[in-house]
Symmetry: C2
């Protein structure tokens, strides 16, 4: 264990670029790192206390490390076995004694933290302060919980000396070796299981590796290199149930197999073509690349409407952006939720600003950001974005 | 030849319900009779003159029948062979000596008339007045030229006694036997060749038989029975080139075979499913029928956007009608042109009127009419719609 240490770790969010819903039916999806990130600061302390502060969801807790030692026996049997059992969860729930007014999000975030802390640190529990602050909205299908778990896993594994701090060579931003990232990803996946029950593993993989990855039939494959693409990410803030939307697509496929089946095949081919273009872009931009990416976005947005996961708010985003020559599609479950709008490197910043303002005036949240983002990273404080430094009080 | 005779003949227009563009790539299309009709009045006269009056396009011509006899030698060789040769066309063009200001539409309409008159009547050329008035806009992909040719063929074949006047039994509206309709269709197809060069034969088949027919790989099959469905037909009046749109779809298919190919397959399945529902409707309406027809319309409209034949004016029609719970798709070539909006039997007439007014205020033409219309028909004057009677001055 490393004492007197302060680490700043970040992990990206996730958007599905193509293949949402089709992936449920064995087709390929393309998930990319979203440069709206979750940042974690961990600082060791010497008073035998452990605190966690999650300002986004208004949660702050502090325990004596010695109290947490009492949890170890329950974890002894299958310590480091890396699968949260019902016994683990029961033990943790009894320990925390969440007050009644605690919301589900808060409870799950604390359970995931405690699970990872006890499982990863074992007997060498460090006394420390943890603060996590995220640029990602929660519950919007942008992988905020995975980014949280990735940050926790990376910082705990580093603090405990299980993986090495890659910042020792004084680079401003750095990441871990591939093997170490694999370990971070595995632990983050366990945290995700606590929060989501039965996650696909895509979100934590994107949070760990960033860039782009394809996902098909439960196999996740990372793409070697991908370009960073500028986007607008718009949150309609229209709530929806992923479960209901997924069931709706299945019903439609059963009702019209010969009509909907080919649409899913077409979506699969869109993911493949997009992957090909992204790969091609890394060896030099051609005049075709952006028009094709835009065409794929338009086609897929129509397909997503066909399979019944559109929403008037998403149509509105498409209309507003199209009226300025920009191309948008929903991302994730649809039926509300978020949309991505592709920006070209030469898109006039005034147009981007106008579009943003129009979308905001529709009642949407809108961020200008990028995809193909860096995976889990460790930062020198000076390399943190200004808003994050101010959140962390540095 | 029947003397002292007056006939009133009508033929329906055509809309493609599903399968436009996909049909070019070997998929099935579903064409239906449109109850915007072309009406023809023919009245024999005794002064040895033959006149044709086409008020919709401002054309009026009159010849001596004896002059037209001079054309017969050119037709002698292959009289009744029913294929307009370049020799026929050259002979007719020289005969008419169109004034320079004559528009292409007028010239072709007169050529088709003269070709059918000389070919069908042969030596027994009757002296008569022909007036044709249509509810169909021309050049809007609604089969107006085919309805014109069907009316001409039916009336000329009847006047010349080649087929029997089915109205002898004093029914108000009547049609010919299937064998006679076959002959009408064959001659109408020849007229279409003069006007369109290389027509598919679908328009004249719909003009002759009405109802619905499927068209695939150049084979036209009539559906036994179909229901009449109420629709709004909206003409954006946005001009477009069918040739350019068809070429665009082909390019897109070549560019993205695995993305666009499945979409064409899905359109094929939509046509099949629609055909199944239409057939089902004739044996009694179920609560599912209209919702499925509406769903198929929505899906296909998205597909047509995917293959690149949409247009903002068509999007506008979809938006306006959707805001009142109605479902629309483009019909025909797209890129402007016309759209159909399905009305349910219980759609509130006030809503229909509101939607019509909104569409008209967008600068579109809009008709409330029906599809699955009767094919070529012969009318007692008293059974003609009031507007047509007034056009014909009766």
């Amino acid at each position: 264990m490393v004492f007197d240490k302060e680490l700043f770790v970040s992990a990206p969010g996730k958007v599905i670029l193509h293949g949402e819903h089709a992936v449920v039916h064995g087709k390929m999806a393309l998930a990319v790192g979203l440069n709206l990130r979750t940042f974690l600061r961990v600082k060791t302390r010497k008073d035998g206390k452990i605190s966690i502060n999650l300002p986004n969801i208004g949660t702050k807790q502090c325990w004596e490390v010695s109290q947490l030692h009492s949890l170890l026996p329950a974890f002894q049997d299958d310590l480091k076995q890396a699968r949260p059992s019902s016994k683990h969860l029961e033990t943790l729930r009894n320990f925390v004694e969440f007050p009644k007014e605690n919301k589900e999000t808060e409870s799950l975030a604390l359970l995931a933290f405690l699970y990872l802390y006890v499982s990863i640190c074992g007997r060498d529990m460090p006394s420390m302060d943890v603060v996590v602050w995220s640029q990602l909205p929660t519950g919007a299908g942008l992988g905020s919980s995975a980014a949280y778990c990735v940050c926790l896993a990376a910082s705990l594994l580093t603090i405990c000396g299980i993986i090495e701090d890659p910042l020792q060579h004084n680079t401003k931003i750095s990441s871990w070796t591939l093997t170490e990232q694999e370990l971070i990803n595995q632990w983050a996946f366990q945290g995700e299981k606590i929060i989501h029950g039965n996650p696909s593993g895509v979100d934590n993989a994107v949070g760990t590796w960033g860039g782009a990855l394809q996902y098909q039939s439960e196999i996740i494959t990372q793409m070697d290199r991908v370009p960073m693409l500028q986007i607008l990410l718009t949150n309609t803030q229209v709530p929806r149930s992923t479960k209901v939307l997924v069931a709706g697509v299945k019903d439609k496929l059963l009702k019209f197999p010969d009509i909907i089946g080919p649409v899913l095949s077409s979506i699969h081919a869109i993911s493949q073509e997009c992957q090909r273009i992204l790969k091609d872009m890394t060896s030099g931009l051609s005049a075709d690349h952006y028009p094709i990416l835009e065409e794929l976005i338009d086609i897929n947005q129509n397909h997503l409407n066909v399979i019944g996961v559109g929403h008037p708010s998403l149509d509105k985003i498409c209309q507003v952006t199209a009226s300025h020559g920009l191309h948008s599609k929903l991302t994730g479950a649809g039926g509300g939720g978020c949309a991505v709008t592709l920006l070209r490197p030469d898109t006039d910043p005034n147009i981007v600003e106008t579009v943003k303002q129009e979308l905001i005036s529709c009642g949407f949240q809108c961020w200008e950001t990028s995809i193909g983002a860096l995976g889990v990273s460790i930062h020198l404080p000076s390399s943190l974005p200004a808003d994050i430094r101010s959140e962390f009080g540095i």
